[in-house]
Symmetry: C2
Subunit: 461 residues, 2 copies
């Protein structure tokens, strides 16, 4: 065996094994939102904050502070590359070329910077605050989350022998293959990778995405990760997120204005991107009130993404609403994206494909084999359905640790807009417990938007 | 990334990826038997022949004849190395140093050669005949089998993508880890690797053996593979096999002489190796007749290896026989070595450890957890028991193929003594169907040895 002396020496000497290798290593919707913000809110000042919802994982005790600082500083030194800008300019997204304006791309290449950040520790957790103009701050969300998640992974791998590491990945690959096998050949199935922020590591996400792409062909519709889409010629997927209506509501001058922010944001989006990219996320202040109060033109949008609501319920509600507005749901799009795994993906797909199974509930569908008979059964598509598969695609190491430790379990780390122009931002969501913002302001928003269709409301006897 | 140009060029240009890397890459008992043959039968002429008992695998249609020739010629060009001879001379085997005579080692280093061979094809199978002096021929057995098995593996891997290969090995590693977990912590358990001849590949056997060694510690008692024992400081395991009594019987001048060959061989072995290495293989002509007719000194031997008989039955028979000869079985050794997997290993271990389980049969033991309660149960060791784990340790790829093809299933390839000094060799074994030799001669041997204790005798109504 011939030793590669330079590689070996390098492997033992490098300063940093970077987690974020390119500024494109972010969710595609962040770039769409960045252009939107750059056009309409270039000087708006905001803050974002980090929260670990899995409090039992004392992240600051597992991950060295210096490692976080080194990775964050590395990202801040990165610049968009010329070749990446050419790709953003020349590539087709959602069937449309030229979605990014040249002026925006020039700004991105020459003037884009990430804001400063404050990192502190409290009660075993990192506290992270990003403050600056919205365009400087917003991109931190995905970089910060993927860095912290991968540093957690590295900490968990630290005590393992080479053999144990090998077995760990053998387990994870076996599980991944099982998932792929369960989805292979299901007619009409559409699945995309939404797992950048909670991935086990960059290289694992890349492995998973390449596996899905090569094995599931057209069933795998693309990845939300712009860098992987660029590197492997896949579709980049995603449109927009809560931060837009949240910021616009926060900056509103009265209750009426707060209430209309969710629609004004869509209007502005529509002006910005024309007919493409019209997939909305209606749950920022509750989906039911959103649909009830929506102007008619909202029903012309292509579809909606379901986040915090049970997607069976949310899909039925959207279909009924479309019909009440005189639209045919069959050509609309429903995307589920919260906590999905094979079982949910297949059951939802069967449900919205309108499969009526004699004796079996489609909610029990768990593998491609369950669809074999369905070709003979009666079914009529109710709505186009697609799954945005996140954490359990790119970070499902449950039970894979060779010594059954739980340090590789995914944690629920979020990085959210906390204020805009000095005023606190609020999210209500379709789940009472998932509301965010200062409690008295959350109460105020609840009075404005109501509680229709909200789940898990505490009952006071 | 820095490219190792020399490695890359080499990887695309090498003439041969050798399967047998060292002449020590053989079962340790072959070396013990080689010294025995060298001392007592140096000029005896024999033939060995190959047979594929799994006829549905048309090996000669899967593996190119040229590849077989190239690998065989490569082995013939190998020589024992000075460092290997020093190890054989200086290492302790079964607690004894100096088991190999210096004159033998000198002969091995300077004069040992492998015989010529004839390779032909018939009905989709390779026909292989080795002819020459016994010392030239005998060592072909393991080299030929491991070469043909690994060439079969390579043929099966040929059509697979890099990703599929990765998943294949992930599956196999996951399965191996499951086996290791099932054995971990079982009190008193003893398992050795006997899987050289039927291994998936040399590198896979090495991976498996290192994993067993590092994870199971003392439970893993060693490997029959001399090269791996040498390379990784493990115990080399094994004593002797059927070819010795078969040859001695074949060369016998009358029926009485044929009948005593099985004991004369043991006597000669005892003279050759003194008190060490006294583990016998009594099933060449049927275990029951062997034990009944055995001289009393045979009961002084350390133990026996069970091959073709149900090991529960064979162990009980051996224990009863030892007691009938006034010996305490508790300190004797029973080794099972045929078609074992976790279930058989654990059940046999529990059975001979004398575990009496309230309500559960020890024959259903399948994992270390089954032994947890057994510490509280009554048990008294009946005999020392050890497992020689072969094919299902080093070549268990059942169900691992990502496209569920069966090309990686292990096949039952054997390479056996067929004649000595021009006279056909016969084996009867404890299983009627496993007899080998010319049919009329097998019948003749059956008259000499009888059918007591033989399984699967055809019933003529």
């Amino acid at each position: 065996m011939i030793i590669n002396f330079s590689e070996r020496a390098h492997n033992h000497n490098w300063d940093l094994d970077p987690i974020v290798r390119s500024l494109l290593d972010t969710d595609f919707y962040k770039l769409l939102m960045l252009q939107f913000i750059w056009k309409h809110f270039r000087n708006t000042r905001v803050t974002f904050g980090l929260r670990n919802r899995t409090a039992r994982f004392r992240l600051a005790e597992m991950v060295p502070r210096e490692a976080v600082l080194a990775q964050f500083e590395h990202v801040r030194r990165l610049r968009y590359r010329k070749s990446e800008m050419i790709w953003l300019a020349g590539n087709t997204f959602y069937g449309t070329r030229g979605i990014f304006e040249l002026a925006f791309l020039e700004w991105l290449e020459n003037d884009f910077r990430l804001s400063d950040f404050q990192l502190s520790e409290r009660d075993g957790q990192f506290e992270l605050v990003f403050e600056g103009t919205w365009v400087e701050v917003t991109m931190w969300e995905i970089y910060a989350l993927s860095i912290l998640n991968e540093l957690k992974t590295r900490a968990a791998l630290k005590g393992m022998s080479e053999f144990e590491l090998d077995i760990l990945y053998a387990h994870a690959k076996t599980r991944l293959w099982g998932k792929i096998e369960s989805l292979r050949g299901v007619p009409g199935l559409a699945v995309a990778d939404f797992g950048t922020r909670r991935r086990h590591s960059f290289l694992w996400q890349e492995f998973v995405v390449e596996a899905m792409h090569s094995e599931l062909k057209g069933t795998f519709t693309g990845t939300s990760n712009t860098f992987l889409a660029y590197k492997h010629d896949m579709e980049a997927i995603g449109t927009n997120a809560h931060e837009l209506p949240m910021a616009m509501a926060a900056m509103s001058s009265n209750d009426e204005h707060i209430k209309t922010a969710q629609y004004r944001m869509l209007e502005l989006w529509q002006q910005t991107y024309g007919g493409s990219l019209q997939v909305m996320l209606p749950d920022t202040y509750g989906t039911t009130q959103f649909l009830e109060g929506a102007p008619d033109w909202v029903a012309d949008w292509t579809g909606q993404r379901v986040d915090s609501k049970d997607p069976f319920v949310a899909g039925d509600e959207y279909i009924a609403w479309l019909e009440s507005r005189g639209k045919d749901p069959k050509n609309k799009l429903l995307i589920a994206s919260d906590g999905l795994d094979v079982h949910e993906i297949l059951s939802l797909h069967a449900y919205f494909a309108g499969i009526v199974t004699p004796g079996v509930s489609v909610r029990d569908f768990r593998s491609a084999a369950d669809f074999e008979d369905s070709r003979k059964w009666r079914h009529e598509r109710r709505i186009r359905f697609s799954s945005g598969w996140g954490t359990l695609l790119t970070n499902d190491f449950r039970g894979c640790h060779p010594r059954n430790e739980d340090a590789l379990e995914p944690i629920s780390l979020v990085c959210k807009l906390t204020s805009a122009e000095g005023r606190a931002a609020v999210k209500l969501s379709d789940n009472y417990e998932k509301a965010s913002g200062p409690p008295e302001l959350v109460e105020h928003y609840r009075k404005i938007f109501g509680l229709a269709g909200i789940a898990k409301i505490p009952v006071i006897v």
